[in-house]
Subunit: 124 residues, 2 copies
Amino acid sequence: MTNSAKPDPRFRFRILLGHSIAVGPGKADLLASIAETGSISAAGRSMGMSYKKAWYLIDTMNKCFKGPLVETSKGGKAHGGATLTPLGEEVLARYRAIEAKAYAAVTDELAAFNDMIVETPSRD
Amino acid sequence: MTNSAKPDPRFRFRILLGHSIAVGPGKADLLASIAETGSISAAGRSMGMSYKKAWYLIDTMNKCFKGPLVETSKGGKAHGGATLTPLGEEVLARYRAIEAKAYAAVTDELAAFNDMIVETPSRD
């Protein structure tokens, strides 16, 4: 705990489908990183996860949505390039829009919350 | 996974303060259950947690906010009655308002998401 601890409000938005998480904060960040790096392994690495773990998350998304969100190229080397499909781009854009709209909708409530919270919680 | 799996969008809203969670879904439910049952042990039991765990969550909240959210009565028997303070009632009400406003703000986006998701994800 630092002395500069300030209230940090965070929304975590997930869409569950049965026992699967169709999309949530981690999967949205992974989509964004794939769009940025053009590579599943680079995207996974930037998030501290293995290629296998990154691929598992992508595979879950691809099964939960009506089409794949990520496409891999059939390049020569293993773990070749990857891009978002148009559906993948739409899912990511709508996820970010949901986050932004949720925060915007509660600005006043968050200010009221901040007034009720101490700057730094006391410790035993 | 049942055949009737339908997309289930969920917001989880937390306010972090340093390393502590000042309030989140579990703590909000605990406050609501204390208001309903008038007892920390009964509230904890209804959520499948021990008295010790319930008290730990309350203690964290009491330290993160500018005053206690829960007050215990000095009754004769151990684990006596508990009530929300006015501040506790306000925190719970504002937490529920934040959830409700966040959902209301993204109704259109959620409908669009539902259209992109399959009814039941395919399995390997």
